[in-house]
């Protein structure tokens, strides 16, 4: 069940929670991720969906959040990481097809693993609870189907 132990998962999760909490306590903002795609597209697309006032007003801090995420991962990689840099072995077609569905689905659902999974659950939102159960279920079924079909 836990071939790598639980410590890195629990420590990482608590640090993520501290980051989200600090942002909330200082600014009242929910540090969620998938809106980043929509707000960033507001710089490039004139479609009304992207030009909504909320997207324009949020796009600068969402970019700052994204830069923070990258900086934090750089910090870990070059200081604490036992193995240093990492390059995935997952096939590019899977990153591409999966990425397309992740981008479309999270924006249709108005949340992802952080929006529904962390901030939504922490807010005791039943909407987010249903969303989490749904994406966990579909994720588990899809990963098993791929394994069954011999895609590893």
């Amino acid at each position: 069940m836990f071939p790598l132990g639980i410590e890195p998962y629990l420590i990482g999760g608590i640090i993520i929670g501290l980051g989200v909490s600090i942002i909330y306590i200082l600014t009242g903002l929910h540090a969620t991720q998938s809106s980043f795609f929509t707000t960033t597209l507001s710089w490039f697309s004139q479609l009304p969906h992207f030009q909504e006032k909320r997207n324009i007003s949020e796009r600068d801090w969402r970019l700052a959040l994204c830069l923070g995420l990258i900086s934090g991962a750089v910090l870990y990689t070059f200081t604490l990481s036992p193995s240093g840099m990492f390059v995935t072995g997952v096939d590019p077609w899977r990153l591409a097809l999966g990425g397309l569905l992740v981008g479309f689905g999270t924006r249709l659902s108005n949340g992802c693993t952080s929006g529904h999974g962390i901030s939504g659950i922490a807010s005791l939102s039943t909407t987010s609870l249903y969303a989490v159960i749904t994406f966990l279920g579909f994720g588990i079924i899809t990963a098993h189907l791929l394994e069954f079909m011999g895609v590893l």
Binding site: G5, G13, A122, A131
Partner: protein, 137 residues
């Protein structure tokens, strides 16, 4: 840069550090969770949600408003068909690739350059949603 964006950036550093520490920046680890070989991801989402629960539900009893302005509002939303259809589509993509938005962005910082492909297609997916699906239910 205003104070709000600097605060968000600082909190984001912790967020990214935690994602890398917990291995969520590695699609392989997320996929091993979804195949139910390594259930560690539960502790990542659970640990983060428990800490955040206190920030959202307990801290506002002691502070009237966020330190840098704004207001404390829990993240609640209305359940629609799109919430669930979108979550199902997201879950399918998650199971195919082991990527979610935050982990993919942070993964860039671990030197994982192929994740650029995943991020580019996430932008494309978000664009198609805005281009072809009308807002509302």
């Amino acid at each position: 840069m205003n104070a709000r964006n600097i605060a968000v950036y600082g909190g984001g550093i912790l967020f990214g550090l935690g994602l890398a520490w917990s291995g969520m920046t590695r699609p392989e680890i997320v996929l091993s969770f979804l195949r139910l070989d390594d259930l560690g991801l539960i502790f990542v989402m659970g640990g983060a949600a428990v800490v955040t629960f206190f920030a959202i539900n307990v801290v506002p009893k002691f502070m009237k408003a966020p330190a840098l302005g704004g207001a404390f509002r829990p993240r609640v939303s209305v359940l629609t068909r799109n919430t669930l259809i979108g979550a199902a589509i997201f879950g399918t993509g998650w199971g195919i690739s082991g990527q979610c938005p935050g982990s993919a962005v942070a993964s860039l910082g671990t030197g994982n350059w192929p994740i650029i492909v995943g991020l580019a297609f996430m932008f494309l997916g978000a664009y198609l949603r805005g281009r072809f699906i009308r807002d509302g239910n």
